[in-house]
Symmetry: C2
């Protein structure tokens, strides 16, 4: 049987290939988009799309294009989050941030254009897949990225809580800012593959818990981490007095919540048994990763 790592690399390779094959041009906007999109990254969200489709009996190879859409939307959020008026981060993945490399106007527009192209890719016509699935997928992904999802979560993060931040506030903010797009990734794959509503429900719980676990681990790595390993200045969350799990709960309670979320994710896959081995491993590895 193919190992988790091999399967991950297979998925990632199909995504990287499709991203590189987009019709890039020589103009500044195109170069600025490609700089952030093709400069590396785990491709975690598209991998979730493909694995969710496979889990419910779909063919991942058919939906690489919409899966890539989620990576474009994720990349747009990184570019806009790094802007001087937001988190004001000068580096990303060990390289100058988009607005440092191309200027602020280009960075704003590259984010806008990646979001737009991302949703266009989600709406790709797919041979053999009924169009009502595609239309539903667009609505799900747009809702997850928008005012009640990722963009709304970033606004909450910028504004901070009305009173003393507690776990409930942090979970709410994180669910919007990070969790919603993880959930949309699982839903996108499942919807396009024609999943039953009960399967969608299980995958939503899985991806929501995975997203939370992923963010907690990110926060912990940021606090402990080395600049080199993370590709962004260590402790940069602290510098911005960002409200993170370890900052609010302390490192030990944060680690306990990480374990709990990972267990939730794994447990939501229960009905699938051994068929869900890839997504289960993904949750365990995400909690245990070093960058």
């Amino acid at each position: 049987m193919i190992s988790f790592q091999e399967q991950y690399e297979n998925y990632k390779r199909s995504v990287d290939k499709a991203l590189a094959a987009l019709p890039w041009e020589s103009g500044r906007l195109s170069r600025c988009m490609a700089y952030s999109l093709l400069g590396g990254g785990k491709r975690l969200r598209p991998v979730i799309v493909l694995a969710a489709a496979a889990l419910v009996g779909g063919d991942p190879a058919k939906i690489v294009s919409p899966a890539c859409g989620l990576e474009l939307i994720h990349t747009y959020s990184l570019i806009h989050d790094d802007l001087p008026c937001m988190d004001d981060d000068d580096t990303r993945r060990g390289l100058p941030a988009s607005h440092i490399a191309f200027g602020e106007a280009a960075a704003v527009l590259a984010g806008d254009a990646l979001l737009t192209l991302g949703l266009e890719l989600v709406a790709s016509p797919l041979p053999g897949i009924p169009p009502e699935r595609g239309l539903r997928a667009v609505a799900v992904v747009a809702a997850a990225a928008g005012w009640r999802g990722m963009a709304g979560g970033q606004m909450l993060d910028m504004d901070g809580p009305p009173e003393k931040p507690d776990l409930a506030w942090l979970e709410h903010m994180q669910q919007m800012k990070t969790g919603a797009l993880f959930v949309a990734a699982a839903e996108l794959g499942a919807i396009l593959a024609g999943a039953a509503e009960s399967e969608l429900k299980g995958l939503r719980v899985y991806a929501g818990a995975l997203g939370a676990a992923f963010q907690i681990k990110d926060d912990m790595l940021d606090l402990e981490g080395e600049s080199e390993t993370l590709g962004k200045p260590a402790g940069s969350d602290l510098k911005h007095s960002k409200l993170t799990y370890p900052a609010i709960l302390g490192p030990e309670r944060a680690a306990a919540v990480l374990r709990q979320k990972t267990e939730e994710a794994v447990s939501a896959l229960g009905v699938w048994g051994e068929e869900a081995v890839f997504l289960r491993e993904l949750a365990l590895k995400a909690a245990d990763r070093e960058k």
Copy 2:
């Protein structure tokens, strides 16, 4: 028979009503989005959507929601264009620009969220309309708004031409920045209403010429205009050394191009005869407007 003005007001009223009925919330992001979206505007793009649908035999009342999507996308572009790193305009429609009223971070995110919600509205499931039309509409609108359309045009406008600007460069930039969304508006209405490809072709020519005429008139009004009438400082294009039709061609040749584009728009409606009276009047009024 109902007059042009009455018909325009009917369309506009249905759009304004649907925009006001979106599930607005009390949070800062929602207020920032509503501030720019509900603060007035001609609703020209959604009106084109509805009129194009009616022209090819569709029922405009059924597609108000996707038509509103185009107004959200237009509003996002105004908010981002006004940002300090772009055109740095402090006022819009006689009120403080979004980033002045709510701060830059909120303005960037409100633009992002309006774009996202706009595409979500274009993907609205519509009773009685086949989903493949909706999916095609999303792809068309996203393409028009993105790197090869509106966002790409704004980048060209910011960067300026490689050499001395000529009419060809200006038309290319304008077609991307303004024209593409006008064309998408006509296509959106026509596609959802099930237009024949030959009808789509005619409407594309119409809307492209209308968009160009609209922009030339806008440029001319900016040059001549009073702050009060326009809702933005008179000559603000000049202040930013924006490349406009009158700046490059002089006022007389710009007026001639305006007449030519208007004639092109009207002539593209020829096959429809009297049925196209509303869209014909729209082109004539747009060329003759005072704000």
